[in-house]
Amino acid sequence: MKFARGSNTVITYALGSCIGITFYDPVIKLGGLLHIMLPSRSDPNDPKVFKYADSGIRETVRKLTAFGLVKSRTVVKIAGGAKMFEMKGNSDFGNIGQRNASMVKKVLMEERFRISAEDTGGTYARTMLLNVENGDVIIRTVGKPEKHL
């Protein structure tokens, strides 16, 4: 999890089945970018809270709130959750991206956030950038123009 305030850009590279979640409070120009890899933390003693959607989102929100983030004005965007390989005869393989996406949405809803834009699914990796100056979220993929979420 990375965050910045005022100016600067936070970035996470090459999201495959992982999901990037940006939190941005435009009033105080505070932005956070969380990169999760798996849906849920099954072992409560696992110290890597930011690796999982459930514990990662909650911990990010807790941290950002301590820095003044107000939920009601926070803009949340998500990207990633791709299926990188298509396994013939084993359609379950690589569905982790989809599972990540639905878990992220579920936890965000429980935490009372509305997702204002998303770019999930597909079969390609994405790099996600959040410009803390203006809240702009950019998605970079290979062979396509940059996309503003």
Binding site: L38, F85, K88, R140, V142
Partner: protein, 206 residues
């Protein structure tokens, strides 16, 4: 189970894996040589247990476009085999096979992709064949699946698949040498933890 994670492997375990890998990769080089009808040599591989970031750094750049072939292992050993082509190796192989040269993976067509997928599959199969004979285990391989994508995104696949067991990858790096040029490749053998214990047990070091 003696090992709970990849990083529990000690020097002796890694040494044994290196021995086996060296035979596996030389079989792979022989297959490639037969296919291309030219001399292919291979350096002695190093077997390393690396984090995601370290693996990316060893192979290339996180956003670098690479081609990858993935095969699933099942039966006595469950896990994944992943072979990564960087552009230099892809060009060397496609150049010889269909006489084409590319500045980027983006310029390739379906035919080139499928040639690369086949070669990745041949390399993985010959590696695994040598491995099964040596270790005396039965391994079934799935049909291959391929992608051209950012290196970082590709490497998250095994990390996510085994994310609940380990954060590390077993990276086997050997370099193919063709026409005096060293070509980087990345082969990752990723048995699940139970299978890794089984392999080492079979070899008498449990």
């Amino acid at each position: 189970m003696r090992l709970k994670r990849y990083e529990d492997m000690n020097l002796q375990d890694l040494d044994v894996m290196k021995e086996i890998s060296s035979i596996g990769t030389s079989h792979a080089a022989t297959s490639l040589s037969k296919l291309l009808q030219k001399e292919v040599r291979i350096t002695i591989p190093e077997v390393s247990i690396l984090s995601f970031d370290e693996t990316v750094d060893r192979i290339g750049q996180v956003e670098e476009l690479v081609a990858a072939t993935l095969v699933q292992m099942s039966n006595e050993v469950n896990g994944l085999m992943l072979f990564i082509f960087k552009l230099d190796l892809a060009n060397a192989v496609l150049g010889k096979l269909i006489g084409k040269h590319y500045e980027s993976f983006e310029d390739m067509d379906e035919m080139d992709y499928s040639a690369l997928e086949e070669i990745g599959n041949i390399i993985i199969c010959s590696y695994v064949n040598a491995f099964t004979q040596l270790v005396q285990v039965e391994i079934d391989l799935s049909v291959p699946s391929s992608t051209i994508n950012m290196l970082g995104g590709i490497l998250t696949v095994p990390i996510a698949e085994y994310g609940y067991e380990t954060d590390k990858l077993m990276y086997i790096n050997a370099e193919f040498i063709m026409d005096g040029e060293r070509l980087s490749d990345g082969l990752l053998m990723l048995p699940d933890i139970q299978s890794l214990n089984h392999i080492l047990g079979k070899l008498g070091i449990s």
